[in-house]
C-alpha cells in the first residue's frame, strides 16, 4: 500500500508543479534568466520543465523491425559468389554492375549496401552509424513470437523474465529528470514487451492528440474523478491511468503538428516516418522523456520479397528514409543532448532464397546503431561466419557470432549511464565490443 500512496503523492506534486509553472507564464523560461518567447519556435512547450537537461546520458530511440528482416538485402558481402548463387532473383547487384539503377553501393572492399540505405550514408560517413553483422540471439528459435520475446525481455527461455530489458534499464536508473511525468513511450497501439514493466511509460500512438475529450466545463472535475477512481486498482492499470493523466498537460503544451525538422530533413509520410518525426519533436521538446520505442513491420518476406523495386524495397525506403531524416534533424541537427538509436529485428532470413522469390526464417542478421557517441562509420563483425553451406546454421542460415546483448549492454553502460547490466540482461556477462566511442 505504501507505494501506492507514494505514487499518488508524486503525481500530485508533479501536477502542482506543472500548474505553477504554467501560471508563471509563457514568456519566461524557468531555472534562471528571462527569455523572450520569440526566440523559441512555436511548437516548443509553453511550459518548460525545471533544470534543462544536465545529464550526460543519451536518450534512447529503439526501433524494432517486426517479422525478421532480411539483413542480406541491406548489407551484403558483394565479393562473395555464394551470395549471388544462393539468390538468383533477389540478390542486390554488385556495386560495379552495369545495372546502375539497382546496384549496391560499396562501403569498402567487402561490404555494400542496397540503394534504400542511401539516406543513412551521410550518418555513416560522419562516423555516427555503426553497422553490425551476423548478430542476433543465442537462441535458435525461428518462431517470430519466441524470438521477438527473447530479444525484448533480454534473456531467452526464462519464464521468470517477463519484463522488457528497456523497462528494467529505466527501473534501475534514476530518472534523467525527477519531475518528468513520462519517462518513456512507445509510438504504438499497445505496449511493446520491451517496455513492459517500465515506470512512467505509456504506448501513445498519436502524441499530437493526447487529451481528455468531452465538455471543457467539466474536464477538470472529470479528470479528478477518474484519478480517484483508478487509485488503488491493480497494476498495470493503475499506473497507466495515473501516468496518462499526468502526461496530458505535458503533451498538450507541445505542438507536435507544427513541428519543423532541422536541416530541411523530410520524414517519409507514412506510419513509421510520422512516428520518427514525433520522436524528434518529443526529444527536442525537452520534456524529460528518456526512451522511445517504435515498431516497423512488413519484414516477413516469405514470397516476392523484391528488395530491388517491390515490397522490401519500399519497406527499406521507409525505414532508412526516416532514419536518415532523424539523423539530420536530431543527431546532426544541433540538438544539445545525446541521442542513440538502435535498430534490431528478431532474426535474419535464409541465406538462399526459397522457391517463391522470398526467404524463410533464418538466424544471423544485421543491426544498426546511430549517434554521436557511437563508434560508427564501419561494418563490425565478430568473425564473419561466411556463406558456405558447411558454415551455415542448419545448412541454411547465417550464424550468429555476435550476441545482440553485447551491443545493447555496452550502450546501456556507456551511453545510458546504467552499470546494472546484470539486471537489464540477467545471467549474461556482456563483452564490450567497442560499439561506443
Amino acid at each position: 500500500m505504501t507505494d501506492k500512496l507514494q505514487h499518488d503523492c508524486d503525481a500530485c506534486n508533479e501536477y502542482n508543479e506543472l500548474s505553477r509553472r504554467q501560471f508563471v507564464g509563457d514568456g519566461f523560461l524557468l531555472g534562471g534568466g528571462i527569455v523572450a518567447t520569440a526566440l523559441f519556435p512555436e511548437w516548443l512547450p509553453k511550459v518548460v520543465l525545471a533544470q534543462s537537461q544536465v545529464s550526460s546520458r543519451d536518450i534512447l530511440v529503439s526501433v524494432f523491425l517486426r517479422g525478421g528482416s532480411d539483413g542480406l538485402s541491406m548489407v551484403f558481402p558483394f565479393n562473395d559468389p555464394l551470395y549471388y548463387s544462393g539468390r538468383a532473383t533477389i540478390a542486390i547487384p554488385r556495386p560495379d554492375s552495369s545495372n546502375t539503377a539497382q546496384r549496391g553501393i560499396a562501403l569498402d572492399n567487402t561490404w555494400a549496401v542496397s540503394r534504400p540505405l542511401s539516406p543513412v550514408l551521410p550518418a555513416f560517413q560522419a562516423g555516427e552509424l555503426l553497422i553490425l553483422h551476423a548478430t542476433g540471439s543465442v537462441d535458435p528459435s525461428r518462431s517470430h513470437f519466441d524470438a521477438q520475446k527473447y530479444i525484448e525481455v533480454g534473456k531467452p527461455r526464462d519464464p521468470n523474465v517477463a519484463t522488457g530489458w528497456l523497462a528494467r534499464h529505466l527501473a534501475t536508473s534514476t530518472p534523467m529528470r525527477s519531475t518528468a511525468p513520462l519517462r518513456a513511450l512507445g509510438l504504438s497501439d499497445g505496449l511493446a514487451r520491451i517496455l513492459v514493466g517500465a515506470p512512467k511509460t505509456l504506448p501513445i500512438s498519436d502524441p499530437a492528440n493526447f487529451g481528455l475529450q468531452g465538455s471543457a466545463a467539466t474536464r477538470s472535475e472529470r479528470t479528478n474523478w477518474i484519478r480517484n477512481n483508478y487509485t488503488g486498482v491493480p497494476e498495470p492499470v493503475q499506473a497507466s491511468a495515473l501516468d496518462a493523466l499526468n502526461t496530458i498537460t505535458l503533451l498538450q503544451n507541445l505542438n507536435i503538428a507544427a513541428y519543423r525538422p532541422a536541416n530541411g530533413a523530410v520524414y517519409p509520410n507514412n506510419g513509421f516516418g510520422r512516428a520518427m518525426r514525433s520522436c524528434a519533436a518529443l526529444i527536442k521538446g525537452d520534456i524529460g522523456v528518456e526512451a522511445l520505442h517504435v515498431d516497423i513491420g512488413g519484414w516477413d518476406t516469405h514470397a516476392n520479397q523484391d528488395p530491388l523495386a517491390g515490397s522490401m524495397f519500399n519497406t527499406m525506403n521507409s525505414l532508412f528514409g526516416s532514419l536518415g531524416a532523424f539523423w539530420a534533424d536530431v543527431i546532426n541537427g544541433g540538438y544539445s543532448g545525446g541521442v542513440t538509436v538502435v535498430v534490431i529485428s528478431e532474426f535474419g532470413r535464409n541465406v538462399r532464397e526459397n522457391g517463391t522469390r522470398g526467404t524463410d526464417h533464418g538466424r544471423g542478421n544485421v543491426m544498426f546503431c546511430m549517434g554521436k557517441g557511437i563508434a560508427g562509420g564501419r561494418v563490425m563483425v565478430n568473425t564473419w561466419p561466411g556463406l558456405a553451406i558447411e558454415n551455415l546454421e542448419n545448412r541454411a542460415d547465417l550464424r550468429v557470432t555476435l550476441d545482440h546483448r553485447d551491443v545493447l549492454a555496452e550502450i546501456v553502460q556507456k551511453r545510458l549511464g546504467n552499470t546494472q547490466t546484470n539486471v537489464v540482461f540477467p545471467d549474461y556477462t556482456p563483452t564490450i565490443r567497442g560499439v561506443t566511442k
Binding site: 513470437f145 499497445g190 505496449l191 474523478w225 477518474i226 493523466l245 517463391t356
Partner: protein, 520 residues
Amino acid sequence: MSPTDTDTVMDREPREEETAQADSQESKRKSRRDVLKIGAVLAGATLLPARKARAQRIVRPRPKIFSGFNSSAPNPGAEAITRLVRRVTHGITDDDVQRARQLGFTRYLEEQLNYTKINDSAVESYVSTTFPMLAYDHTQLYNLDQRMVFDQLTRGTFYRAAYSKRQLYERMVEFWSDHFNILWDKIQYLQIPDQREVIRKHALGKFPDMLRASAHSPAMLAYLDNTLSRVNRVNQNYAREICELHTLGVDGGYTQQDVEEATRILTGWTLRNRGEFYFDPNGHDFGAKTFMGRAFPAQPPSVGVAAIAEGEQLLTFLVTHPSTAKYIATKMTRWMLSYDPPAAVVDAAAAEYTRTGGDIKAMLRKILTPANLMAAPAKFKRPNHLIVSTVRSLKPNLTNQARLAFNYALYLGMPYFQWDDPDGYPDRVDFWAGTILLRWNYANYIATNNSDARVDVARFRTVDTPDGICTAISTQLFGGEMPATLRQQLTAYLSAAALTEARVRDALALAVSSSAFMYY
C-alpha cells in the same frame, strides 16, 4: 480529434507464448535466487501474493486480482452466475442476468453451449438483409468492390457480437478468429468463406474439424503462402505456423527439421479458380519424409491426387498429439478464465480434449465451473470487447455501426481483421492497459454523442435522483454488482451540480470510464 484522424499504421506486438508458463519448472528454480536479487533492486514493487513470491518475475509482479464487483447475490450460487454471464458474453446486461438467474448456472451454460437452439432469428434476418455478402461464395465476391465486402464483413461481425443472443458462441468466434488469425489486406474477399466455413461453422464444434477446415481454407493457405509452396521451391510459412500457432504450440516438441518436413508434406496444397481449394499433384513432393518420428514413405508420382492423403495424415497426427490438447486447453482456459490459467483446469480441459476428440463444448464445461469462476481473477476487456459491451449495456440507437466498428475499433487499437501477424490480437493486460486514455475518450463519445449512437438517457432516470440513477447504472452496466466505491464516486458526481441531462450523461461516461467497467 476524431478517431478518423488516428494513425495506427504501426506494427504489432507478439502474443505471449501459450505454453512457456507451464514449462521449465527447473529453470525457474535454478534462477530463483538471481531473480529475487534483481527484484530487490527495484524499489516500490507491489507486494506479491506469498504463493508467487518464490519464483517471481523481474520488476513487475503478476497483476493483482480485481475483486471489486459488489455482489448483490440473493444466494451463494448467484454470484457464480453473474461471473459466468460476464465471461460468456460480450458485456453483461440486465436481460442476461435475469435469464441466467431464471435458468440457474448449469441450464444457462447449456443453453449458451447449445447455441443453435437459441432463437436468434431477428439478428440473423437483419444480418442476411443488411450484409448479404456474408453468404456469397468466392466467385460472387471476387468481382465486387473489396471495400464494400470488407464493410459488410466488419459490420456483420460487430453486429452479431453485440446483438446475438448466442453470446458464448460469439465469444468463441472471436477467440478462434484470433487463433486462426488472417489479415484482411492480404487475402481480402477470401476472408468471408473462411469466417463462415472455418470459424463460425466450428466455433463450438470439434477442434480437429476446424483445423482441417482451416488447412483447406483458401484464405489461410494464401495468407501463409502455402499456395506458392511447390516441390523444390518451398515456402515454410504455413507449415511452421500450423505447428506453432494452430496445434502443437511453440514448445510442442517439433524441430526446425520437422518444419521443413511438414513443408514438404504440404506442397501442392493450393487454390484455383480464385478461391477454391485444390491439391496440385504437380506441385507435390513425392519423396520420403519424417515428421516428429512419423514416417511418410516415398510414393511414385503416379499416385497423383491421392497423395493429398499424406497431408491429411499430417493433420490427423497434429490434432491427436498430446501437445495440441494441452496447447488448445491452455489457450481456451486463458481466454475464458484467467491470464494465468490454473494447471489443474488446463489438465482437465486437455484430458477432455483427448477423451472427446477435441470437443470444444466439452472442454468449456470443464473450464466454466462455479468453483473455477469463483477462483478466477477478473480479466481486462480488450478494446472491441469494451466497445461491444457499451452497445449491449447502454443500448444506444445505433444508426451508424461504422463509427464504432471501424473508427473507434481503430482508435482503440483493435480494428477487425487487421492484425498483421498470424498470432492474433494479444490477450494480455500488459499490452492493452497503456491506452486507457483512449478508452475514456470512447466512453465520453458513446455516452454523450448526439449523432449516430445516441443513448436514451431516460432509461437511467426512471428514479431521477443520484441514488436512483446509480441503481439503474448498476443494473444495466454491472449486473447489479457495481462496486461500492464507484457508487459513492458516481453519487458524488451526480450530486455536485444540478441533475441536467449533460450531468447524467457525464456520469454515464464516467461509469463506462471507470476501472470496474474495464474488467469482466
